[in-house]
């Protein structure tokens, strides 16, 4: 069994120290920003209130963990939303790869660059701006309704932003619109790394462009796709916050509230910090467990893994 870790040749001991030294600042950053904040987990064991020292706060043990696991009001709904968004995310996860392949097949260089630039741009627009834009387009007197009504396709205005049933697909669509171009960059880089001789050989053997894609490009991209998929499985419950936060309203609330948004509401809006931290910890444990499960599966099925 081999791992996908880059094959680094063994260097003399001195060289290794140099490499370690080079990595040290980054390890320090990881330590500082990823491990030191874990101290905050201790808040979940106390009835913490802002301004009161943790030492003076009442120790409550695992009360908040128990509360979340036995919560019959929100837990099921919030988890359901999170899982649905995550699963839809997996369903559409090949899209950036497909987009990159399609873009790679475009022969007109200027057109290709224009498409790539336009598709990448939304990634840099904040969700708040996206919301304003979507309100302008989709509100009942917005552009979308104007066009649809003028064309006679609908008789009364609709508002997808206030449609509970449209939440899952509409938010996924928005996410894809915003991230597709950006996410495809890694695949475009991987495509550039494919040995061109394979395409030439296939061409000599009479393969069509589609066959080349099917038998050369896609298999060559699969290791990248799998690694990204594995990493994303670790983030299964981290479906995001900003997007859902700005698009949440009284109509969409039931379906759009994912775990991160719920933690925000409980922890910061209701000032129930300890409970919020406890939910966050459980989320992290689920993520770690999922990552190891995915890693093991990958090892067994494909013979490759990241850990």
């Amino acid at each position: 069994m081999s791992s996908v870790t880059p094959n680094i040749q063994i260097k003399p001991r001195k060289k290794q120290y140099q490499l370690l030294l080079m990595a040290a600042p980054f390890l320090l950053l990881v330590l500082l920003f990823s491990y030191v904040p874990l101290f905050g987990w201790s808040f979940s064991l106390f009835n913490y209130r802002p301004g009161i020292s943790l030492l003076e706060s009442k120790f409550v043990g695992f009360k908040y963990f128990q509360m979340f696991l036995t919560d019959k009001y929100d837990m099921y709904r919030v988890m359901k939303n999170t899982v649905i968004f995550a699963l839809i995310g997996y369903l559409v996860s090949p899209l950036p790869m497909i987009f990159a392949i399609m873009l790679n097949e475009v022969k007109h260089a200027k057109y290709k660059k224009a498409v790539q630039t336009i598709s990448t741009m939304p990634n840099f627009v904040s969700w708040v701006i996206v919301y304003s834009l979507m309100f302008t387009i989709f509100s009942t007197d917005g552009v979308f309704n104007d066009i649809m009504m003028n064309l006679g396709l609908i008789s009364s205005p609709t508002n997808v932003l206030a449609d509970k049933d449209a939440v899952y697909w509409f938010q996924t669509l928005l996410g894809q619109w915003k991230n597709l171009g950006w996410s495809s960059i890694i695949y475009l880089a991987a495509i550039a790394g494919i040995d061109q001789e394979m395409y030439e050989a296939a061409s000599i053997d009479g393969a069509t462009r589609f066959q080349s894609i099917l038998h050369i490009t896609i298999p060559s991209l699969m290791p990248t796709f799998i690694v990204l998929l594995l990493l994303s499985i670790g983030n299964f419950v981290n479906v995001g916050f900003d997007q859902y936060f700005v698009f949440k309203n009284n109509v969409t609330a039931a379906n759009i509230e994912v775990l991160d948004l719920y933690v925000y509401r409980i922890g910061l809006m209701n000032s129930d910090y300890s409970y919020g931290v406890a939910i966050g910890i459980m989320k992290s444990f689920v993520s770690i467990a999922l990552l190891f499960i995915a890693n093991t599966l990958s090892k067994k099925v494909r013979g490759t893994s990241i850990v």
């Binding site: 009835n47 209130r49 802002p50 301004g51 009161i52 020292s53 009001y73 929100d74 309100f135 509100s139 009942t140 007197d141 205005p157 508002n159 932003l161 206030a162 949440k248 309203n249 009284n250 109509v251 609330a253 039931a254 509401r265 910061l268 809006m269 209701n270 000032s271 129930d272 910090y273």
Partner: protein, 553 residues
């Protein structure tokens, strides 16, 4: 010897000169003050004359720091706080021992603070953690808007030009209001961009918008959560969600009917306040739930025609409540300023709060500087005509005076009596109010034969036909209310979330049966979420605190 004396004289002169220079260039100390308030420090008119005067009084600069809710909480949690902070509840500050008691400094630096005896007594009783010390300062202590301001933000809000066109029919119920809205929509001019016209639209992501209309009109105010409403005539608490006669349910029935009539903007579930304002300015609404969001209509119309009557204004029905008339013995208890334990100069901070309670600064805040904005005429403090004209013109020159810009912080209320026997605010003169009215307000006042629009309501109160908040002690009870236990807070916030999600179902119900079913379902859900447990706590604690305050009175 002569040389030595000369040298001594030169040295003495140099020392004296340098000392003088140092004294002159000595920088003032800076007092930092953090709150959720926007103090407009980035505006060209800042610092205002009021702020400069305040800084001169304490001989220090004041730096305002504006937080949002999250950063304010994080600042408290970090313990690294500015010199002074304003919060909306005292419990965290008391339990976390984040505040410095003022008592040791009051005699020397806070004589004006000591004058507010009742306020201080209630605060020592309820928000001192039991040690009887004074930790907090509140703004606007005393009688508030006794004669109803100039206009009201609540009431049956109508577009005045259209309402007059309809013959200004009397409105005495929500149903009659809907009828009037309907007729106004029918005759309303189409906005330039062809957008549809509605009765009203709300910034409905917040429960505030769905609650406030009937809450204000029917004589209630909100508490720390929307699950409970306080009757402002007797300060009793009622269940806003579980009691079908509550303002929440009045609102739900009203908005349901409004939606049925096609008069509610369907974007009401997704709009922000700014978006409501934009649509109002575009002429898309003929009414409103609160006049704050619809001022843009008049501003936009006035640019085209200075004498336009196209603006939203309140008319009143029998029995309707006005949001004025309270006598806040503890000030606004949701704006508690305290000296933090991080404060570098506690005496200076006490001097700052003392200035806020001073006779001089309160008059400056509400009426301007003596000799510049007002002066005594036959012993009576009287505003200069220029001051009145300046307010009428508005703009940055007016804003630079800082008059009425510090309401959330200044110690006394506008209608507290100054040492000269007049109110701090010199604006409560019907003739003066009349002279300051814009063309729309003037037309309204002339139409009803009053000096200012809100006088219509004030007169109704005097005649016993309407009510105001004269019996309201909400601020005092809220201050004294014990900290809600965690389980009650969780139940209350859960109920709010449940109601948030139920509002669209209720308002957009297809028919009365669907509305009734949604209502029954919501009540069941709230009951299951612990509504009765929460109510038991609120009923016992609210009324208990009210009784204690009454005994202190």
């Amino acid at each position: 010897m002569r040389k030595f004396l000369s040298l001594l004289a030169v040295v003495a002169m140099l020392v004296a000169m340098l000392t003088g220079v140092v004294a002159e260039t000595k920088e003032r100390e800076t007092l930092t003050y953090g709150s959720l308030l926007n103090m407009n420090t980035d505006k060209p008119f800042y610092p205002t004359k009021f702020i400069k005067h305040l800084e001169d009084m304490i001989d220090a600069n004041i730096e305002f720091i504006q937080y949002d809710n999250d950063t304010l909480k994080l600042t408290l949690a970090s313990g690294d706080m500015p010199d002074l902070m304003m919060v909306n509840t005292a419990s965290t500050i008391i339990d976390g021992r984040l505040a410095v008691a003022m008592d040791d400094y009051l005699e020397e630096y806070g004589p004006n603070i000591l004058k507010f005896e009742k306020r201080n007594a209630i605060m020592r009783e309820f928000v001192s953690g039991g040690d009887g010390k004074l930790y907090f300062h509140t703004p606007s202590t005393g009688p508030e808007e006794m004669t109803g301001g100039v206009t009201s933000w609540n009431g049956y809000l109508v577009r005045w030009d259209l309402y007059k066109q309809l013959g200004a029919p009397a409105i005495n119920s929500d149903d009659e209001y809907i009828e009037v809205l309907k007729k106004m929509v029918e005759i309303a001019p189409k906005p330039a961009n062809g957008a549809p016209v509605y009765g009203m639209g709300l910034h409905g992501s917040q429960q505030w918008a769905w609650n406030i209309r009937a809450m204000a009109n029917e004589g209630y105010s909100n508490s720390t959560c929307w699950a409970y409403a306080i009757n402002t005539t007797n300060t009793e608490v009622i269940q806003n969600y579980m009691d079908l006669s509550s303002p929440f349910w009045s609102n739900m029935r009203f908005y349901y009917k409004l939606n049925q009539a096609g008069l509610l903007d369907p974007d009401s579930y997704t709009m922000t306040g700014d978006q409501v304002g934009e649509k109002a300015a575009n002429g898309q609404y003929v009414g409103s739930y609160c006049s704050w969001y619809t001022g843009g209509l008049y501003d936009a119309a006035r640019k085209e025609d200075p004498n336009t009557l196209a603006g939203i204004i309140a008319v009143y029905g029998d029995g309707m409540s006005g949001w004025y008339g309270s006598n806040h013995t503890v000030g606004w208890s949701d704006k508690l300023t305290f000296i933090t334990k991080s404060c570098k100069n506690v005496p200076l901070a006490v001097k700052f709060l003392n200035a806020l309670d001073s006779d001089e600064l309160n008059r400056i805040h509400y009426s301007g500087v003596q000799g510049e904005e007002w002066d005594y005429v036959d012993g009576v403090p009287t505003l200069f005509p220029e001051t009145v004209a300046l307010r009428q013109t508005g703009g940055e020159a007016w804003q630079h005076t800082g008059i009425n810009s510090f309401n959330n912080t200044i110690g006394a209320s506008a209608y507290s009596t100054a040492e000269d026997g007049s109110f701090y605010s010199l604006w409560d003169d019907p003739d003066l109010k009349y002279s300051g009215l814009n063309p729309l307000e003037k037309d309204y006042a002339d139409f009803y034969g009053v000096k200012y629009p809100a006088q219509v309501h004030y007169n109704m109160v005097q005649e016993g036909k309407a009510i105001n908040q004269a019996g309201n002690q909400t601020q005092a009870v809220q201050l004294g209310l014990s900290v809600r236990p965690d389980n009650i807070i969780r139940i209350d916030s859960r109920m709010e979330e449940i109601v948030n999600r139920a509002i669209p179902t209720l308002v957009s119900a297809a028919d009365q049966d669907a509305f009734d079913a949604a209502q029954a379902s919501l009540l069941e859900e709230l009951k299951a979420a612990g509504a009765e447990e929460s109510w038991a706590w609120w009923n016992e604690n609210w009324n208990g605190t009210l009784a204690k305050i009454n005994s202190l009175e």
